[in-house]
Symmetry: C2
Subunit: 344 residues, 2 copies
DNA sequence: TTGTAAGCGTTATCAT
DNA sequence: ATGATAACGCTTACAA
């Protein structure tokens, strides 16, 4: 049952039927009424989205390309909150959300790509290859990284990390700080990293800026930043973080770090859980700092000392930019220090 | 830059260019090579998805229609896990995921609807009106409710709730059990509900089956099921649950329930948090039972006593059904009792 | 191996 | 107010 069938059935032109659905003002209410009624009777569900999008060039679909797998992104509090913000805006604007992952087979992304009216790319610069295959003049907003010629949404990672680490070291000085990075190395590495490890370039990952902030604070408090021991985790999940953190905690008293500067709440919470299981006192034996400000860190005792980034707001902003509701220039969002109990 | 342009530029037919992209075996490798090279040079990104989907009738898009708002669904552990399962399968099969909410304006759903190759409807029977406007012979899988003529995926809610409540009442008998329902009443109600409240019909919500299971166990242990006090919450979030739970906990010792049968972990965790804040001992003063088995309930002390449902597996199964990888008949998934410490 | 041509179901621009 | 008609960009018999 197509629009054309319906038109024939009714003895009117296709244009008129189309207008009945799309431009009520273009035909007499009486005729429109009749067309709509007959459509319902014959089981015509309204104009086909595929045909319409071909004809008009717009689909009302906005695609979000996620750096991580969909599985991860949907389970992670930070990216879910981001998506949730995106969805909220799209929703009110009559658009829908197509989820893509940069980890998917390239062809899938490219295939669906030309379907979408715009792209929000989240978390990590996609490969050039992928990037080149997006529609040429598609509207695009980058989140948490920069891409030339398109606006981006960022959070003030470096200053936030400086501030929270500075505060920690000022209030209760520590002897043995350590840093747990998140996917910072050029080659995957789950464990301790030496100072001479090859790191991802700053434009490819926000964890570089967070690291800079921590380093600046450490330097201010007399630590040779490059001497502060660092570990790296490849994925922000309990399963992947746990072995690395066990390795850290396995060290004997006096060698074990007494301050863990983490790149995410997920990592910090994993450390917290594992430390508690060993009977270590928080924050006396080890104090902990996270990043993100996820609910899970605040609904427990001790509450996580962390930096709150408004992931939802990032999503809303990116969505508004894509839809042209917001001027298309890059924005830097503020964060907020949350003084919890894991690092007084 | 279209396929036709490229063909003209190269002096070949559109069919040949199309084949170069879709059916490598239909033309000489040499020519194909030349076409692909030229395409790249001229900035042709491959066949347009909109046009292709119109022509072939398939878009490789699967839509999930969620009962709750996208914002809620993306933040909730249970539905995220479900989506994550769906995404996992779609991913490996070269499909992508379009997220819709039954709460959206109807037109948005209908508009995007004809775009998708199939639908997974999650959580709640959508309105008949919405339902009628889905493509007539679209493939459709229902999750957590039934829709005639289409397969569904369920979890054994009633037996699971019976089992966990029965176990609780057997091991440590209690005097004052109470039930906290989730969106069970026909009219929204956030608070205590009388036995004569009008409830949603069983086919519209799974919480009816959970309630039946609890009631059966209570009856077995000598409680007049309809006398057991019940509360209802309209949304499975801390913010909405908290006032209702405070109302429950506000009751004086001896009147306050000593066993809370909840419909979700989220609700049980909220109760747990609020009870702990008041200095109530868990499980001595109040014991708690949840449903879902979300991670948050197990990564804390005391761990939640609950029923684990494999939400991810529900998603994977639904996705496989939609893609025809699985026979299209309804399935009932098992659950697993998790004996935590909130109800020994 | 390659080309021709007929749609796929709409919408938009003209006429009438 | 309504109708003809030409795209939109592609796929796929079928013909050469």
């Amino acid at each position: 049952m197509t629009l054309k069938d319906l038109a024939r059935e009714l003895g009117v032109s296709t244009a008129t039927v189309s207008n009945a659905f799309n431009r009520p003002d273009q035909l007499s209410p009486k005729l429109r009424e009749r067309i709509l009624a007959e459509a319902k009777r014959l089981g015509y569900r309204g104009p086909d989205a595929k045909a319409r999008s071909l004809r008009t060039g717009r689909s009302r679909i906005i695609a979000v390309i996620l750096a991580e797998s969909l599985t991860y992104s949907l389970n992670d509090a930070v990216s879910s909150e981001f998506l949730s913000g995106v969805a909220e805006v799209l929703d009110t604007q009559g658009h829908t959300l197509l989820l893509l992952s940069a980890r998917q087979a390239k062809c899938q992304i490219v295939d669906s790509a030309s379907m979408a009216d715009g792209f929000i790319v989240y978390g990590l610069m996609p490969s050039d290859e992928l990037f080149d295959s997006l529609p040429l003049n598609a509207s695009l907003v980058a989140v948490d990284f920069n891409v030339s010629g398109h606006p981006s949404v960022h959070v003030n990672n470096e200053p936030a990390c400086f501030e929270i680490a500075d505060r920690a070291l000022t209030i209760s000085p520590r002897q043995r700080p350590a840093i747990i990075n998140l996917r910072l190395t050029r080659e995957p590495c789950n464990g301790r990293i030496d100072p001479d490890y090859a790191l991802l370039p700053p434009e490819r990952t926000i964890t570089r800026s967070r690291l800079s902030g921590y380093h600046r604070a450490l330097a201010k408090h007399g630590f040779a930043a490059e001497r502060v021991p660092m570990w790296n985790v490849e994925e922000n999940t309990f399963e992947v973080c746990a072995p690395v953190i066990e390795e850290i905690l396995d060290q004997p008293d006096g060698e074990r770090p007494d301050l863990l500067l983490c790149m995410s709440d997920r990592t910090a919470l994993t450390a917290l859980t594992l430390a508690e299981r060993r009977g270590l006192r928080i924050p006396e034996d080890i104090s902990l700092i996270g990043f993100d400000g996820i609910a899970e860190g605040q609904f427990r005792a001790p509450r996580l000392t962390t930096v709150r980034q408004e992931s939802g707001e990032k999503g809303r902003l990116a969505a508004r930019m894509i839809l042209g509701l917001e001027p298309a220039h890059s924005r830097l969002l503020d964060t907020q220090l949350i003084p919890g109990e894991t690092c007084p």
